[in-house]
Symmetry: C2
Subunit: 230 residues, 2 copies
DNA sequence: ATAAATTTTTAGACAAATCTAAAAATTGGT
DNA sequence: ACCAATTTTTAGATTTGTCTAAAAATTTAT
């Protein structure tokens, strides 16, 4: 067991603290970019004053660097914690889809709860049961036990040129309406998509998927990730 | 969906409230027996004054009957809530043992967390995945979705007469030391036990299990449930 | 450079769940 | 029936995480 994992074990984090760390990570706090109080407040659906209070507490605990009026960045330890929560969230999502017949628009809400369960054995066994999956149902990468993960080579469908071909590998928007729309139009991860045409007027696309022609708006295309075929 | 299940859905219960309801049920609050403030405090590892506060809140919510200085009993709704938590707890315990290779002494701690996850679909799918089990790893019955469950025909091994035969169906003590002791001596649920002799001096038993003779103390026998063979 | 707008922090309050200490009610022994 | 012991409740304080309103710092615009 690494030295960092020992710290992880001793740290006792409340559910609220864990949610702050996770959201700061998603806002880019893993790099040295400073994350603003307001940005965190918006994501947490809370007030900036609450964020300030929590930032002080998390800095005290060694999870982030906080300078008044500047913003925060995660410490190395903070990144570790963030990755461990994201790992749990995404593994539970896979579990729900693979083992319990959940649809990909139902899993997020439940995973938000399950990600806070404290048991190292539990999540490692779930990982094993699932065969150590690399990606969650939305195409997002699952960090390994020691925090490693590969960001996939992907781009937005809306950034693909005419006549190019790609494989659908993820979604940017994970809202139920968007995912239901994809289901209705039989667009799923793994499908091959060819961009037939892009309309000058509104950037809407004509694509070939499942051997069928389909017209989709720019907004749809800008929320679908594909891996370009060379 | 029954009328009561509709109530269950609307009720939003905190983790602490759920734990109080569960413990009151286990103390016998499903009958009309009054449960004392002190008894609840002891089980909850909290102070009587805290129990009084919570009793008022839960009575306000319609989950229990509370009369000052008298004690509490669960309402019909309170019993429903208790059974739904116990159902979740025990199903998760089965899941951990059957699907994730947990041992029967490891499951309780994790189930204490998992029992509070809010998702009807989640627990119903776990139930289905497990093949609708009737008993948990410790031999305790699992309430069905609508709160029905059979208490098993069982008695303590220490209450069995000489020469009688029974099948081990449950444990009274679920502590790790006791369960580890049973593992070490290869005593498991489902095993047939014959009482060969009972020592007058200390009530220790000589039993036949797995075709081997074994001596166990009265304390061990008084924490093992068996179903008597006719 | 100064003023205006925005962001962030502070100060003080609140709800939930807990605690301690003291008061009130109940129970039990004689 | 009385006193003493026990149980239970009340009153007031504490911690966590949040809020509002006001003050302070920073950023943007003129
Ligand atoms: Mn998610
Ligand atoms: Mn996801
Ligand atoms: Mn248990
Ligand atoms: Mn059990």
């Amino acid at each position: 067991m690494t030295n960092k994992n020992v710290f992880l074990k001793k740290l006792c984090m409340t559910r609220s603290e864990e949610n702050y760390i996770k959201i700061i990570f998603h806002l880019g706090g893993n790099t040295s970019t400073l994350i603003s109080t307001n940005a965190i407040a918006e994501q947490m659906a809370t007030k900036p004053s609450s964020v300030t209070d929590m930032s002080k507490k998390l800095a005290e605990k060694g999870l982030l660097h906080y300078k008044r009026y500047q913003g925060v960045t995660l410490t190395e330890l903070g990144v570790k914690v963030a990755l461990s929560i994201i790992r749990k969230h995404r593994l539970w999502e896979v579990f729900l889809v693979e083992k319990l017949d959940f649809t990909w628009d139902e899993v997020h809400e439940v995973a938000e709860q399950l990600e806070h369960i404290k048991s190292e054995k539990l999540i490692d066994q779930i990982d094993a049961l699932l065969g150590y999956p690399k990606y969650d149902p939305h195409g997002d990468p699952i960090p390994s036990k020691d925090g490693e993960f590969l960001e996939r080579d992907k781009q937005l469908l809306s950034d693909m040129p005419k006549q190019s071909i790609g494989v659908c590998v993820g979604v940017k928007d994970t809202s139920t309406p968007f995912l239901k729309f994809l289901d209705k139009n039989q667009i799923a991860l793994g499908n091959t998509i060819k961009v037939l045409d892009i309309e000058d007027f509104d950037q809407s696309l004509s694509i070939l998927i499942n051997n069928k022609k389909l017209n989709i708006s720019h907004q749809i295309a800008s929320n679908l990730y594909v891996k370009k075929q060379n």
